[in-house]
Amino acid sequence: MELIKLSDHLWEIPRQGAMLVPGRVYASARMIEELRDDPALTQVANVACLPGIVGYSLAMPDIHWGYGFPIGGVAAVDAEEGVISPGGVGYDINCGVRLARTNLQFAEVEQKIPRLIDTLFARIPAGVGSEGAIPGLGEQELRKVVTEGAQWALRNGYATQRDLEHTEEGGRLAGADPNRISDRAYKRGSRQIGTLGSGNHFLELSRVDQIYDRRLADALGLDIGLVTILIHSGSRGLGHQTCDDYLKLVESAMARYEIRLPDRQLAAAPILSPEGQAYLGAMAAAANFAWCNRQVMMHLAERAFLEALSVSPRDLGFALVYDVCHNIAKFEEHVVDGRKRRVCVHRKGATRAFGPGHPALPEALRPHGQPVLIPGDMGRYSFVLVGLETAMRETFGSSCHGAGRVMSRSKAKSEARGRDLYAELKSMGVTVRAHTRSGVAEEMPSAYKDVAEVVQVMEAAGVTRCVARLKPFAVIKG
């Protein structure tokens, strides 16, 4: 793949063949050498063929090979002339991360970690074969969930108004259409509100161990030693089924709209077509399910803290820092070629990272930029960043979303054979509980890139600024 170096952290794939725009990849020189022959770069070029794409087909430094779109891909298409691609959002619609902080210092909970993690493990199920975290919901109630998102959680005592203010889109994406969700998707989601899932989903207890920007850390309520909780999950079976339902529908419509793309999984339909509108209504509905799911999980986690540590809510001081989604398509205004345009931004394994002053941010956070939550592997660290003005100019207000894998799941399992990963992680200061036997092996720290390198590229590019580093001390894997 031909790559032109634009700076130490930005590379361009020149326009060629059916590409409508060039590709741009954020990566260090070391990362780009590893990526040079990776199929993920071909996927960046394939995405550049989407009708209506504007600017660049972008890749963040945690890029890896996905389905159709690369993971870590960002593509903005014209809101009227462009196409919507279910594969550009992914199976786990509104997979995302939320971070809550407490008033507790790590030293106050250190002796109680086993009790705390066991209580959390019991309260927050993985979601298959287990009783749901909250009573199962019938289709009628689920239709309200997918319409209202985190507001459903507020109405039912699982959220506060402040939680919603600290959630991207207020925890409710406009345009959700409950009639666009299939019966099978409703059935798959019926017992899954408040459940973690498996794969790379997790709940992590961490302590703040580095502050990079004191002013921003104060604004987000983070300080050295404070205990935090990070939850990574999404729209569960309801979202997975929705993606599958619409991949099929959209693919079947492509010939009618004379759309030809180099990869079946990249299937797309015009945004204004009946199929495109149907998917957007369903996607927003699944996104709302995900926000409700993460909100309920956080509420259950707060209850687990109160129960396990026997502290008052006031002393615990549990508060949502922010909730981001990193698999989504959203209508936003961006300046393209010097002109403000309404575009649909696909973020597949990429996080919105709006800069300071953006009207979409809640008043309390607006002066500082949007918090961007970047989980690493379960042994090392995760990062809290904020979006900068450069993100608005260069990346459609987007940044990276995680570490990115370096090892396949089967390779990780093979590397883990004969090793006691629980003991290894314990020696790193991390207590682990897992709902499945293979979960820990597949997700072991060495299966991932060093997330510090990923966030450093985005900082060097001026897209996001590091605020704090979180060091895990207890992890629940799905």
């Binding site: 794969g199 999984q265 396949s408």
Partner: protein, 149 residues
């Protein structure tokens, strides 16, 4: 490359896992088309639940109709995933009968999933179209499927 075998047939693996960065890729080989779909049906169950503990106590049938063998493989595995996730049914054996009109009927032998007795191995989110292939060769039939986990 790890492989999973048929009980009592250690020389003929049921399927092989191949490297895919984030997810699970499986390769299947069979002497004929029906056997390929049969193995695929057992493979997805084996990835969801430890197969040795599943009794063949009752039968369920799944029927799909598709325009191509790739679509048939995708739709079959999606329907089977839903059978597990929605109906809570898990199976240890299967038989498959494909017809010339593009339809496929698969009979599954298993029981109700019981988390107390069965070992759940991990969620499968979806069956992808990514590099999905079903092909006939001189040696028989082959398929490659990537599952999003």
């Amino acid at each position: 490359m790890p492989s999973r075998g048929e009980p009592g047939s250690e020389h003929e693996p049921l399927f092989r896992e191949f490297e895919h960065t984030g997810d699970i890729g499986i390769e299947l080989e069979a002497p004929d088309r029906n056997e390929l779909f049969r193995r695929a049906a057992i493979a997805i169950a084996a990835l969801l639940v430890e197969r040795s503990g599943v009794a063949a106590a009752e039968e369920r049938e799944v029927a799909v109709k598709a325009a191509s063998d790739e679509d048939m493989m995708h739709d079959l595995l999606e329907d089977l995933l839903a059978l597990f996730l929605v109906d809570g049914f898990i199976w240890s054996d299967a038989s498959a009968q494909a017809r010339d009109d593009g339809s496929l009927r698969v009979t599954l032998r298993g029981e109700r999933f019981d988390p107390e007795r069965h070992e759940f191995r991990g969620e499968i989110k979806a069956v992808t179209y990514h590099q999905l292939s079903v092909r006939q060769s001189a040696e028989g039939w082959k398929a490659r499927v990537i599952l999003d986990v």
